[in-house]
């Protein structure tokens, strides 16, 4: 279909093309303007790279294959960005639009500036005209959607800066003026291929009735140069605005931590470290500094943060952005402040420079000590920024250099130091729970190697009344399945997880080394534990201290036994315990930190007659019980309790049993559910307890 009134000529699509620089004189000016544009662009990024390079070393270019996969999935494929529907849609529109428009510009450049005249024929019609027009429209629509969100619906998670608004405006103007000049060129030249550029043609058709050719031709020149100046200005601006994420985000994803959140804390070499923990930008690694520059201000991290959700001052987004701001403001000092934090090579000491912990910013001690280390922020971040390890780095500084931390954590650490468990004032010893069960203790065995598995009880299992039934159930199930296992009894010490999360790396290291030594003495190779925190330490952290074991969470181990047919309901199938609906609360350190979501659910399927329902936030988006990161030992203000927020969600599913797989979750949710269940009878029970009820010996099955 050709425009009415156009000259009808014989059309050969293989010859289709258009004139580059139609109607434009002084085209050399384009190249002249391009020089400062690219210079500023390059300079801006060079400044960034230089800043990152002043950070401490970090190994983030190893395993290129895995990195490439991650890059393809979450950078190119936008795997995480699209998890939020609205933002995912508009970002995809703009993102794909930009890629296509960039390709189109490259095609023009090749066509015009090299002997390869590729912009013709079907390729010109289908790609350079039709597809480019469609994706140009994507950009317009995407930006409009983003604008509606930013200016009209205004969700809490965004940061409302002028910069962000101007970014939307410039992109919109670029796309719009692009269509204007295309439209006027089509109209004035009576482009026979107009139909292949539907949006541009729309502009042509819209202008034709009321504009003369001369007016359009003049307008075309003006808008063409305007478009060019805006585009070049925008390019030069990119490295200095959050648009730099176009480049920093993919780089950040490529260099992301591949080892899971559970292994994301750094070790400290106490022999050589000049400072413990971080209170100076110069003590961060280059990857940490890159993180600050990669932030897109999307706010998803803060949106999912349990501490923030219940109204505490912690906001991972603002921590990243405040540190980014500090880095930009004090960049040169940063370059001069390279100092040792144990993995660097020493420097000129920067104690007065760049303190990052500051009561007046988002990096306040109060905010830092509200973090449960749940890693929800890291899981939500579309560009793989590592917020939680930075929070722990700063805590380390407060704890080890300043001895400054909340009171509850102080008692916990005192207890860890003198009693090797965090539960000051417990009524129980580490072996009380074994009463009547006849369980082997390694130290009392003739040959401890006979035990194939070490059952690691954990402080939370042995010393907290509420959880002793869980470890009893686990032990009874292991016995029923004929597993040869033993415990360390009094020789068990805390794995050190609470110390490490709070920031007392020194204490953690002491405890870890002590445990590794004990376990070495008994030749331990396989460990099963009902505490996800112990599980995580053994799996991801003890290898640094010479302790490598085959580690199972009790739900994983029991799931294997079930699969092997070593556990079943004596042929009767799983008995009912009277509950009709069970909902499982994923512990952060089992799920997000270590990727196990299915084992506990498989076990719950054994509970006769009960149906499983999921909470809205489950599996990798599970919402913390509030007990991680040493927070189980801190008294939260009554109106800011993470456990109650979670308990409410569990209660709202209508389940009469909230299943847990962690002693901390158990106590936190017990408290929370009791506060929120109202008149209903809702119980919090460990998966092992439920499984024992379902398949254990019936005479012992009653709780």
């Amino acid at each position: 279909m050709f425009r009415v009134g156009g000259t009808v000529t014989v059309m050969d699509p293989t010859q289709a093309t258009r004139e580059v620089f139609w109607n434009i004189e002084y085209t050399w000016l384009v190249y002249v303007l391009m020089v400062p544009t690219l210079a500023v662009f390059g300079w801006g990024f060079w400044l960034k790279v230089r800043r990152w390079r002043s950070g401490q070393p970090a190994l983030r270019f190893d395993r290129p294959g895995e990195r490439l996969q991650l890059f393809l999935r979450n950078a190119v494929g936008q795997g995480r960005t699209i998890k939020r529907r609205y933002a995912g849609v508009f970002h995809s529109l703009v993102y794909t639009g930009f890629i296509v428009l960039f390709l189109a510009t490259t095609v023009v450049a090749i066509h015009h500036d090299t002997p390869l005249h590729i912009m013709k024929g079907h390729f010109y019609l289908i790609f350079q005209s039709l597809i480019v027009d469609i994706f140009g429209l994507f950009v317009l629509v995407g930006v409009a959607l983003a604008a509606i969100r930013r200016w009209i619906s205004k969700p809490k998670l965004l940061v409302y800066t002028d910069e962000a608004s101007w970014i939307l405006i410039t992109i919109f103007v670029m796309a719009l003026t692009g269509f204007m000049i295309e439209g006027w060129r089509i109209a004035v030249t009576d482009d026979p291929w107009a139909a292949w550029s539907p949006i541009g043609n729309l502009f042509a058709l819209g202008s034709d009735p009321w504009m003369t050719d001369t007016a359009m031709q003049r307008g075309h020149v003006i808008i063409w140069w305007f478009h060019l100046v805006v585009a070049f200005g925008w390019i030069a601006w990119v490295p200095f605005s959050k648009m730099s994420h176009v480049f920093t985000a993919p780089l950040n994803i490529f260099t992301a931590n591949l080892d899971g959140y559970g292994g994301s804390l750094k070790t400290i070499d106490f022999e050589t470290a000049e400072r413990f923990g971080i209170n100076h930008l110069g003590d961060f690694t280059w990857k940490d500094l890159l993180d600050f520059d990669a932030c897109t201000e999307c706010g998803r991290c803060t949106d999912v943060c349990p501490a923030n959700t219940v109204g505490k001052s912690l906001s991972p987004r603002d921590i990243i952005l405040d540190l980014q701001g500090l880095m930009h403001k004090r960049g040169d000092e940063l370059l001069g402040s390279r100092a040792g934090n144990g993995n660097g090579d020493g420097g000129n000491g920067s104690d007065e420079l760049l303190p990052i912990i500051d009561q007046k910013t988002a990096v306040s001690p109060e905010a830092l000590f509200a973090c449960t280390t749940c890693a929800a922020c890291m899981e939500a971040c579309p560009v793989h920024i590592e917020q939680m390890p930075k929070i722990v780095d700063a805590r380390r500084y407060l704890v080890m250099e300043e001895a400054d931390f909340p009171e509850g954590m102080m008692d916990m650490m005192n207890s860890l130091e003198s009693r090797q468990h965090p539960f000051a004032g417990t009524q129980f010893s580490r072996v009380d729970w074994t009463e009547g069960l006849d369980i082997d203790v390694m130290a009392e065995m003739d040959d401890p190697h006979e035990a194939e598995v070490l059952m690691w009880v954990g402080c939370g299992g042995a010393l907290v009344e509420r959880n002793r039934n869980t470890v009893r159930a686990t032990a009874k199930l292991l016995k029923k399945a004929g597993v040869k296992f033993a415990i360390l009894g009094r020789e068990e010490s805390c794995t050190g997880d609470p110390a490490r999360r709070v920031g007392n790396e020194f204490l953690f290291e002491m405890l870890a080394k002590g445990n590794v030594e004990t376990m070495q003495r008994y030749g331990v190779r396989k460990v099963v534990t009902s505490c996800p925190h112990c599980f995580n330490s053994f799996r991801n952290e003890y290898p640094h201290f010479g302790g490598s074991y085959e580690v199972y969470h009790h739900t994983q181990f029991l799931d294997e036994l079930l699969e092997q047919g070593r556990l079943d309901g004596n042929g009767a199938g799983g008995r009912s315990n009277g509950s009709s609906t069970i909902t499982f609360h994923d512990p952060c350190y089992l799920g997000r930190h270590n990727g196990e979501y299915d084992a506990p659910r498989n076990l719950l399927a054994q509970v006769g007659g009960a149906r499983q329902v999921e909470m809205e936030r489950s599996r990798n988006t599970s919402f913390c019980c509030g007990g991680g990161g040493g927070m189980a030992f801190v008294d939260e203000p009554p109106d800011q309790r993470v456990n109650q927020e979670r308990a409410q969600e569990a209660v709202d599913t209508g389940a009469d049993v909230v299943a847990v797989g962690c002693p901390f979750c158990a106590t936190m949710l017990d408290d929370g559910v009791n506060a929120r269940r109202g008149e209903r009878d809702v119980q919090v029970r460990d998966v092992a307890e439920l499984l024992w009820d379902a398949v254990g010996e019936s005479e012992e099955a009653a709780p």
Partner: protein
């Protein structure tokens, strides 16, 4: 200025009830699974001394002294991690539970020895009592041995002009006293002298601070009497009181009946105890 703080290592008073065992032969508590910790009032004393030094603006040297087994080194290290300057351990040899008179004599001899080497101690701080036996005599006996004036239940020391201002807790309120060194005080706890958690750097440094070890022979105290460790009293018997609970429910169909029944039983029980 020199300040001395005396420390005692004791069985963890927070030991779970079931883990607390007694050796009737030795007439003492058994170590069992319990941990060893610094007596809390002694830690309050360390904290009080540190705060005194901070208020005085430095130039106060703090020494920690302990009479105990070699494991008590941990208590002294911890005190040094809290930034006490130096420590001395007099290793015990003999009775594991010497009484206050014996301990006072040993500590006095050690103090004299330390003073010979490093000059007199202006203030000696002792915890008000220990969390194991709770006799609360050591401070007094030690003051007597040293021939110093002493004040008990002090909660803070403030530097004054050539003297020290002491706040002490009494039954009727706080008493403020001026003291001219040398003196001895026993320290009690208040909300301000909660022992600090050491900084990690100081924990590491504590291993480089001087810890002197002395034996009873070094102090010329090698007598049977001191080693036996009991000169003013002897423990005759030690046991864990059995607390038996008998539970009885007041019965009756209505609340009134149950209340009547309850009142009646209370009368009977009281009468039976006489």
């Amino acid at each position: 200025m020199r300040v001395l703080v005396c420390l005692k290592q004791i069985l963890d008073p927070d030991v779970p009830a079931r883990d607390f065992q007694i050796d009737p032969e030795a007439r003492a508590a058994k170590r069992g699974g319990a941990n060893l910790v610094t007596n809390i009032f002694c830690e309050n004393a360390v904290e009080t001394a540190l705060q005194f030094r901070e208020a005085a603006g430095g130039d106060v040297k703090i020494t920690a002294l302990c009479y105990g087994e070699s494991s008590a080194e941990d208590c002294l290290r911890k005190a040094m991690a809290m930034t006490v300057d130096e420590a001395c351990l007099v290793e015990r040899d003999g009775n594991t539970n010497p009484d206050a008179a014996a301990v006072g004599r040993v500590l006095a001899a050690a103090i004299r020895r330390l003073e010979q080497d490093g000059g007199p101690f202006d203030a000696v701080l002792v915890g008000r009592e220990s969390g194991d036996w709770g006799v609360g005599q050591t401070g007094g006996v030690l003051a007597e041995e040293l021939g110093r004036p002493a004040l008990g239940f002090v909660e803070s020391l403030q530097p004054g002009n050539g003297s020290v201002t002491l706040r002490r807790q009494t039954d009727v309120g706080i008493e403020v006293a001026e003291a001219e060194p040398p003196f001895l005080v026993t320290i009690t706890n208040n909300e301000d002298n909660v022992p600090r958690i050491p900084k990690t750097r100081d924990v590491m440094m504590s291993y480089r601070k001087p810890l002197q070890k002395l034996g009873l022979a070094d102090l010329e105290l090698d007598s049977e009497e001191v080693r036996a460790g009991s000169s003013i009293f002897e423990v005759e018997e030690i046991f864990i009181p059995a607390d038996e609970v008998e539970c009885e429910l007041a019965e009756g169909d209505t609340l009134d009946e149950r209340v009547d029944q309850l009142a009646k039983r209370i009368h009977e029980v009281v009468a039976s105890i006489g």
